[in-house]
Symmetry: C2
Subunit: 260 residues, 2 copies
């Protein structure tokens, strides 16, 4: 794919607008917080925001597939597949903290070609699509140079996302070498990498809808996103992710995670 | 003190306005990030925001004392002492993440009687003053009931803030019992407790300017803030803090930290 058709980019904006309207309606208003089987929280705002995006796909692009966090998978064999995380960072959402995001991805023949990170309370939207630069609120954005771990600003959502001792030790090899770490960013942190404010995000225990929408945003801004072994993210569960603004930094982080 | 004089409340707003103007000027613009002796980051925005507040005190309240993060202590024996953390959450500030805050406290004969948590990018301000309710953007706010650890939403800025094994173990006794934890909140998280969106903040490695401004905000909203032994915060270095929206929860957290 040389360039994502403009109609699909416009449709992605429309999906984000619809999800954002629901989030603004529920944010900081009383919502019941239910627990999913993995004990992660979910609210009516997550469910409604995904439902409205699925409805729009069903109405306007009925042949496309959908992979969503709250309402499952349909037609994953389709040429175009939409990937939805209606509220990435539900814990931030229910805490009244405007750092959650709607994530929207589009796969073409299995490859992520379009991605959106939308923060509807702040009115901030990153969109990346193959064939053009990543845009932040309509203006092209770039990652910043940072080849060295010792100068990097790292973000990680939670120290509790590392499940085995080996995984935690690998993460801590990176954590121990960076200049500073901040915590609690969720996908919004990857937007900040695309804009050149952060250098690095290292996470684990992610699902495909947490990761795939970020790929075009990061790549279109000059960065790299892979799993901890340097491979592109796929459709499997329980993924681990390295996002680096500078591809030289990315290489060093992969080596450090592997024990180097 | 029955009620903080309205002129002092108005002056605190004026200080926050002045600091916020400087933060909006520098936020997401290139700033050099220097390291302080404790390796924490500091920028020209921190220094300028504190300098403008100190200038205003010198001009309008020359007899008052000042305790500031960046420019030291003056006249701590004065009847009224202003406490300034010009940017609490400098790591968020330099990452382009609008969760940092200006903290302003006022001590009367050593006791915190007024506090401000101001987020200048979002336009969010909590102000608490003895004798009245805490206000969030001008409207009274309250903490929410949450007597049980097992239902509590906990915020903690960083897992790296616990310095000894014993301190970390005590924190983890609390962490292991709450419903959910979110990370990376800095003082903004205490504002969210005052508004009833979060239940609990447990932190360590804090300085008096990180803690004292929060006391009137939390108490005026119905919550409690003490050190890990249940004592009011003082002027010493390296403080540990428990902020709870529900005083019954506060009691249980103090017991859990002590090993119960």
């Amino acid at each position: 794919m040389e360039r994502v058709p403009a109609t699909l980019v416009a449709f992605a904006h429309r999906l984000a607008d619809a999800a954002g309207e629901i989030q603004r309606r529920w944010f900081r208003n009383p919502v019941a917080v239910d627990s999913k089987p993995d004990s992660s929280p979910v609210t009516i705002a997550d469910r409604e925001a995904e439902a409205i995006m699925r409805e729009l796909v069903a109405r306007h692009r009925p042949e496309d597939g959908i992979l969503g966090e709250e309402h499952g998978r349909e037609r994953l064999e389709a040429e175009w597949v939409w990937v939805f995380d209606p509220i990435d960072g539900t814990k931030s959402f229910v805490s009244g903290r405007p750092l959650f995001a709607t994530l929207i991805g589009l796969l073409h023949e299995g490859r992520p070609v379009l991605g959106v990170i939308d923060q509807a309370i702040l009115g901030e939207r990153w969109i990346g699509a193959t064939g053009g630069p990543t845009l932040f609120n309509g203006r092209a954005c770039r990652t910043r140079p940072c080849p060295e771990l010792g100068r990097a600003l790292l973000s990680c959502t939670s120290p509790q996302m590392f499940e085995s001792a080996a995984e935690r030790a690998a993460f801590e090899r990176v954590l121990g070498r960076v200049r500073h770490a901040i915590w609690g960013g969720d996908a919004y942190a990857s937007g900040l990498v695309a804009s050149g404010f952060l250098d690095l995000v290292v996470e684990a225990d992610l699902e495909p809808y947490d990761v795939l929408p970020l790929v075009p945003v990061i790549e279109g801004a000059g960065g790299r996103l892979t799993d901890w072994e340097g491979r592109p993210p796929g459709l499997g569960a329980d993924q681990r992710m390295v996002v680096a603004g500078d591809p030289r930094l990315h290489e060093r982080v992969i080596a450090a995670l592997a024990g180097g």
